[in-house]
């Protein structure tokens, strides 16, 4: 019988981790709302559980989304996660085959090679030995890549990696030691007992040539067990707690649980699911402005450590590019807004002095939005379009109207925003209109998300114009322009409107695709969501975007957002036009052509 004390650190670590996981998961479960608990119960034995399991396998082990980001990075994550998972599973199968029984101590499977020295044959022995060595090689290749990533991250398609905490470094070091130590200890035992596979046996035989293996065996296994134990003990305090949490998060998400407007335990689950992989860092445009501590990964870290400051929280464009890139699928924007709501809860406005200005009866309401009033050409174009298409419309914010409430929402002033929403909503319903046309994507998003107008069709003006063109209520001619379309954050990632503006532009001129578009589109830098950024920093971000556009040599950068238009126009480098303005130009062109034709007929 061999000594077993070496396994103690591993056993203690595993037990500790198990207890912490159970306590935290129970605490999070209890903290959910009644409805959410019901959702979990109801979906326990449905296809949703199966879906969660598949997703946990594809994302948690295979790391499909990381692969999409970069193949090397994906391989590194996969070899570590999936390789280790297989080592555990097949290791247990091997121990099961050896013991010919379902019950044997857990550590006898993990340290199987140490115990299996009697030469007693068991089912599929050679196969198991070979597979286990192959898997070890697989994991070690990932560890080697992880070492290399510290020296050269560009190989993994990353410009930046996360700045870690000391707790993360301890866990990281422990993790880095686990598999090399496993190779050494299995090698030593193989050198002594000839029970290794193609790698461990060769390695052991080499070691046997010049090392006193007998004395080294026990310490080596102890070191291996210690690194495992240390990793498990530090795991709950480090970023690696994302491993158990992510699986839990995937299940909750698939049950249909959503973030609330206040922080609950689901928000905690999301926060703990962040692996601090740093993929969000490269997608963040704030880097260009020299702002390097407000990215989502740092916000989540600060939320977790309860060290979040206003400086970090409010210095974000909420453009949503990080959310798009996040391989875990954390609701980064909403989490930040939840925190903003919490931080500004104390000082919302009452708007007691506001009262409704009354409404006019019409079929269509036009809400230009505050920002459109600073770009009057959009409003003029829309008037022209309404006029030509014979639309019976009421220009809601022509003279007196409150703000839509979205800028307040972005700042976290939800209670104040709801006051304005209530005021505007009443006016909209009173008008009896069936359609609400909005020129500003910022307003569009809040009308769609928070106004609760189920009977009214809410359209962005690009959708509205496209509809008119398709129904031939307005005539347009082809313009001889090379156009590029800029997706605004609120309309694109925010409201998922990508195609209607493009469809319309294809009819207006020659639409050229840009490298970063649709979900990956850049923010113009003007976003109202950032309350901290200086004008100079905004300009830096804007100029980077303009640089990207300038390569395409467009006649016009076409926007569908007055704020983007105003921001780009400030650079004075490229001609910028709103989609409505171009439509009006195409309408004029069409009119000219038809007059020309008539003249030709008369002559």
């Amino acid at each position: 019988m061999k000594a077993e004390t070496f396994a103690l650190p591993f056993i203690i670590g595993t037990l500790f981790l198990f207890v912490v996981c159970m306590v935290r998961f129970m605490y999070w479960l209890v903290g959910l709302s009644k409805l959410d608990k019901l959702r979990i119960l109801r979906n326990l034995f449905t296809s949703k559980s199966l879906k969660s399991a598949t997703e946990a396998f594809m994302e948690g082990l295979i790391h499909r989304k990381v692969f999409k980001q970069n193949a090397m990075l994906g391989y590194m994550h996969m070899s570590l996660a999936f390789g280790w998972f297989l080592l555990i599973v097949i290791g247990h199968l091997e121990a099961f085959s050896y013991h010919r029984a379902g019950h044997f101590p857990f550590h006898k499977a993990v340290f199987f090679r140490y115990y299996n020295t009697l030469g007693q044959p068991y089912f599929f022995e050679k196969g198991f030995t070979f597979i286990m060595d192959l898997l070890l090689l697989f994991v070690l290749s990932g560890v080697a890549l992880a070492y290399y990533k510290r020296i050269n991250k560009s190989l993994f398609g990353m410009k930046k990696t996360t700045r870690l905490q000391w707790r993360d470094y301890i866990a990281l070091t422990a993790l880095w030691f686990i598999f090399p130590l496993r190779l050494i200890s299995e090698g030593i035992t193989a050198g002594l007992n000839h029970n290794g596979g193609f790698i461990t046996q060769t390695f052991g035989d080499i070691l046997n040539l010049f090392l006193p293996l007998q004395q080294l065996e026990e310490p080596a296994w102890f070191a291996y067990s210690l690194s495992l134990g240390l990793f498990f003990v530090t795991l709950p305090a480090s970023r690696y707690f994302h491993i158990p949490t992510e699986i839990f998060f995937i299940y909750l998400r698939n049950c249909g649980i959503k973030l609330k407007k206040h922080e609950n335990t689901y928000a905690r689950v999301q926060t703990f699911s962040c692996s601090r992989c740093g993929i969000c860092l490269d997608s963040c445009q704030m880097n260009q402005a020299g702002i390097k501590n407000t990215q989502s990964v740092y916000v989540l870290k600060n939320i977790r450590n309860r060290t979040l400051t206003d400086q970090v929280l409010f210095n974000c464009l909420l453009c949503g590019r990080c959310e798009q890139a996040c391989p875990v699928g954390i609701d980064l924007n909403d989490l930040r807004i939840v925190k903003r709501i919490e931080k500004t809860q104390q000082y919302n406005s009452t708007y007691d002095s506001l009262h409704s200005e009354g409404s006019s009866k019409a079929d269509v309401i036009y809400f230009a939005g505050c920002m459109s009033h600073l770009t009057p050409s959009i409003i003029q174009s829309m008037r022209k379009i309404f006029e030509v298409s014979n639309t019976n419309f009421w220009f809601m914010d022509e003279q007196k109207a409150a703000c839509c409430g979205r800028p307040l929402m972005q700042a976290g002033q939800r209670d104040a925003a709801l006051k304005l929403i209530e005021l505007n909503r009443k006016q909209i319903i009173e008008s009896g209109a069936h359609t609400l046309v909005v020129s500003c994507p910022i307003c569009y998003k809040v009308f769609k998300d928070d106004y609760q107008l189920p009977l009214i069709k809410i359209l962005h003006h690009s959708e509205f114009i496209l509809d008119l063109v398709q129904k031939q209520k307005i005539q347009i001619a082809d313009l001889p322009y090379r156009l590029i379309y800029h997706d605004s954050c609120e309309l694109g990632r925010g409201s998922k409107i990508y195609e209607p503006p493009r469809e319309l532009l294809k009819r207006l001129g020659k639409l050229v695709p840009v490298p970063k578009e649709r979900e990956k589109a850049l923010c113009c830098g003007g976003s109202l969501s950032n309350l901290r950024i200086s004008t100079e920093q905004r300009n830096t971000i804007r100029n980077h975007v303009i640089d990207e556009f300038a390569h395409m040599k467009p006649d016009y950068v076409v926007t569908a957002c007055p704020l983007c238009k105003k921001t780009f126009a400030g650079a004075n480098r490229l001609a910028v036009a709103d989609i409505a303005e171009l439509t009006v130009e195409a309408m004029k062109q069409a009119k000219k052509q038809s007059i020309g034709k008539k003249k030709a007929l008369v002559m």
Binding site: Q346, S349, A402, A411, S534
Partner: protein
């Protein structure tokens, strides 16, 4: 005299020796661009809230520098944070941040949550 609709005028003297500069210092520290305001009034001219109710964002600066916190609290309640003012500001002052800081400052520095109600 009250019977005839007259009432004593509230004293409007401002004693600068009693000036409470906590809010002003806080604003200038957190948003230094605020100090560059040249009172041009562009913000007031474009203001969405001023279009609806009696509100003057430029005046806020004066109220702060006079230490009239109670009046300031009444005024600041009307801002809708729409951001037009920051778009037109010739000095590029981050006006939305200033507004949010004033709101926060009144509550945290002057401990007057009863003025800015929830």
């Amino acid at each position: 005299m009250k019977k005839f609709g007259y009432s004593p005028i509230e004293p409007r003297t401002i004693d600068y020796s009693q000036f409470d500069g906590r809010l002003l210092e806080y604003l200038l520290r957190e948003e230094p661009s605020f100090s560059t305001c040249l009172y041009c009034g562009g913000c007031t001219a474009t203001c969405t809230a001023a279009n609806l109710v009696e509100f003057n964002i430029r005046k806020l600066n004066i109220l702060i520098r006079r230490g009239e916190i109670e009046n300031l609290a009444k005024e600041i309640d009307k801002c809708m944070l729409c951001g037009k003012c920051s778009m037109v500001c010739p000095r590029g002052i981050n006006t939305r941040h200033v507004i949010l800081l004033i709101k926060k400052g009144i509550v945290t520095l002057h401990k007057k949550p009863e003025i800015v109600r929830l």
